[in-house]
Symmetry: C2
Subunit: 240 residues, 2 copies
């Protein structure tokens, strides 16, 4: 076996001080669905290298803070929200990804209800940008955004996380439209309804849409309790 250059961290006692040569950050890809469009919450960078370009919302990890805590803190500081979908996606560790020095960043995917956000926050430096209009970004943030978008596309097909983007009560049209926005395809409305009803995840709220200039649709909510029960029977099959 090729000799390791220095004692191994998993098997041998090591003095770590000389290895503290990294900074860590978290970057949150915060998606929202607003006026029929999938948007992402961004901020303008003032770094000389990326002046005026859009950046994800992130911050340095603190020495006394778990990685998860840091992502949660960024979300709270930036949106005022505490109860959203939040999940780690991937860690980006290219040597030269940050101009100020070696910074490894862990990307988190967050789904929020834009209406809740608007109630709680106004910060002019931040902007909800339609995902389809985002061009170049600061750092490797474009790559991070693309990665998280791909994960979002996969996950909404496998788990009912999409409801985090909608208000508590929603119409089936809203629901179908978010799916279509994120996946970039269209569904047959009758089959979509049939499919969603047979999942048993929708609770009929016995209410109608208000203030629409057409026939109002029924409102539904996500039945989390039903989902918790159903998901135990994890399906296994081969689908590649």
């Amino acid at each position: 076996m090729q000799e390791l250059a220095k004692p191994n961290i998993n098997t041998t006692p090591v003095d770590l001080m000389p290895d503290f040569q990294f900074a860590l950050s978290v970057d949150c890809v915060i998606f929202g669905y607003d006026e029929g469009v999938l948007k992402v919450l961004l901020i303008e960078s003032d770094l000389p290298a990326y002046k005026g370009q859009w950046s994800l919302l992130g911050d340095l990890l603190r020495p006394d803070e778990d990685l998860e805590e840091a992502s949660y803190r960024v979300l709270l500081e930036r949106t005022g929200l505490t109860d959203m979908f939040l999940e780690q996606v991937k860690t980006f560790g290219s040597v030269h990804r940050h101009p100020a020095g070696r910074v490894i960043t862990t990307a988190y995917l967050a789904l929020v209800n834009v209406k809740d956000y608007q109630l709680k926050k106004k910060d002019n430096a931040l902007q909800w940008k339609p995902v389809s209009e985002v061009q170049t970004m600061a750092f490797d943030h474009r790559l991070i955004l693309d990665t998280c978008l791909a994960v979002l596309q996969r996950k909404i097909q496998e788990e009912p996380i999409i409801f985090s983007l909608l208000e508590k009560k929603f119409s089936l049209r809203d629901l179908q439209h978010v799916f279509e926005q994120i996946l970039g395809m269209e569904f047959d409305r009758r089959n979509f309804r049939k499919k969603l009803f047979t999942t048993g995840l929708l609770t009929d709220e016995n209410e109608m849409e208000q203030q629409v200039r057409h026939r109002p649709g029924r409102l539904y909510s996500f039945n989390r309790k039903a989902y918790e029960q159903i998901k135990r029977k994890t399906f296994v099959g081969l689908q590649f």
Copy 2:
């Protein structure tokens, strides 16, 4: 908005030196399939806190090295193999996960062919442990192993990565058995064969098993070229 305690790393020029308070490592969960059993490659720890307990194979990230490179390096140093399935899974960043200080680790999932490994390496400190027999482990490595196992279970159903665990030519029994080992369930043999044949991913090698004490089965290989073409037509549907 709540004020951030210090300039933000994405928007404002920062001196990073005071933030170099972390060490980074990679840990590889290396799975192999041997004698009908799913195994994982482990090493004994000599750290006082974890004396004699099993640990994953990992190493510190070097200041001039990408995260991906580091995982590849660990694999090469430990197994001598260069051509295996290797993919980032998750980063673990609890404050006290390493007794020597703040070490954040990124876990990688690797699939290797144990037969190849045996040809190239002998290192008595390392052991292939049946996954079902692994008990407590050093650090948070048990959590990391469980996380990677769950990802493996999901991914073998979505992508044809399972072939990395087998030799180039394999029987359908071997293939079915690896699936069953990893997923912890059994498949009907006729339906399994039908399903696999209709994927179009198997090449009939026109050879038979040798040295089995029963009717020998045909040998097949994974047709990577066919897969590259098929996967472009990405399927979209709702399956939660």
